[in-house]
Symmetry: C2
Subunit: 231 residues, 2 copies
């Protein structure tokens, strides 16, 4: 069966190593819904040229005649469009609180991963992406990328403590979504998968239940997350 | 109408100033469900003597013949027992993710509030609670209470940054529960109400949307949260 579904994602010079946290959220969202799709990883500077410049950022999902961008919007779209398939939110409360999980991941995990991985990400890119990335991130972060990672070892050492909320939650239930994973799990997975693919570092504590949870997420849907190896 | 519902909560020497974060979660949970109850604030050392030693910690809810302890268990109990009244979780996904919100609050907000408020809390107590509290908290925290609050000013200055996940979420929706508050909101409210009643400090940023959300929570259910003033 040919599919009419295309996920535009992000890659560096190696198109077989898509690394965007947001795109990984969507990869697992589509797998969760059991929907076939073709993934087309793009370099940063190519994104604004596809689909008539529909979005400056990925993920972008083309689903037949529909175009949707933003991983959270895509998850909402998938649940609304395919209500007969497993839900990504399990109700209105889950939909609302997934936004809190996203906000935690993006205000706590993402900045810490940037302070560890930003130069690794830069080095995965070809020109002209390197130029674009260095320029835009230097402006956004307010200092040269080399300065951002100056305390990299301390950031790595401090990272496991940031996972404390997940660690405590896992003493009650196996997934953020409860007995099985939901979009909220893919949100946090996306951040850690981004770190895994770009740095290859182990950012967990000794005997960390969060590592076990993450490994379990890597195994989901025919081990889709393992299809890209750690750096 | 007389009520057969009793909430055992926590107080210091002033029984009109119950301050436990977990009990405040349950006060708002009961109000959310529209259920009448009588609150009986107890000193720490009296808790193990009520209801035949049912629980060492509050909240304890007596609901007719039923006894339930733990704020999360009580919220689950209330939704199960009174399904015709407004839900505290809005579905199974909300139930699961509320556990993540609780875990975030207890691993991030609670320890920071302890480092700010632990001596204030001690000073609100009568003997023999002061002795019990100082002894148990010194053991749990591994150092004298005076040492725990040694960096109090720095902790106060650092606190608004801890609220970043709530702050970002509020750019999408007015409550953690979505368009209206759920138990997840009462979880975070409980922590901040605990800080408000015991310290009287403003722990928000300038022009902080989180302050507006908190003030809105204080206003809920005939401003129940304002019935106890800031220290």
């Amino acid at each position: 069966m040919t599919t009419s579904r295309t996920l535009y994602s992000l890659c560096g010079s190696d198109t077989s190593r898509p690394f965007s946290p947001h795109c990984w959220k969507t990869v697992l969202s589509l797998a969760h819904k059991g929907l076939d799709f073709e993934e087309r990883p793009l370099p940063f500077t190519v994104i604004p040229t596809v689909e008539d410049g529909f979005s400056k950022t990925v993920p972008i999902l083309r689903d037949g005649d529909e175009l949707v961008s933003d991983s959270f919007e895509i998850a909402l779209y998938l649940d609304e469009t395919y209500p007969e398939r497993p839900s990504l939110f399990n109700g209105e409360g889950g939909k609302a609180m997934a936004r809190f999980v996203e906000s935690w991941s993006q205000t706590v995990l993402h900045p810490a991963i940037v302070r560890i991985a930003v130069l690794d990400i830069h080095n995965m890119l070809d020109e002209p992406d390197r130029h674009y990335f260095r320029d835009s991130r230097t402006k956004a972060l307010g200092r040269p990328l080399e300065d951002v990672v100056a305390n990299r070892e301390a950031e790595i050492a401090a990272f496991p403590a940031l996972l404390a909320p997940i660690r405590r939650m896992l003493s009650f239930q196996p997934f953020i979504g409860g007995t099985s994973p939901l979009f909220a799990d893919y949100i946090v997975f996306g951040a850690l998968q981004w770190a895994r693919i770009t740095t290859g570092l182990d950012l967990f504590a000794d005997n960390d239940p969060v590592r076990d949870w993450f490994e379990g997420c890597l195994d989901l849907y025919d081990a889709r997350g393992r299809s890209v190896t750690a750096a």
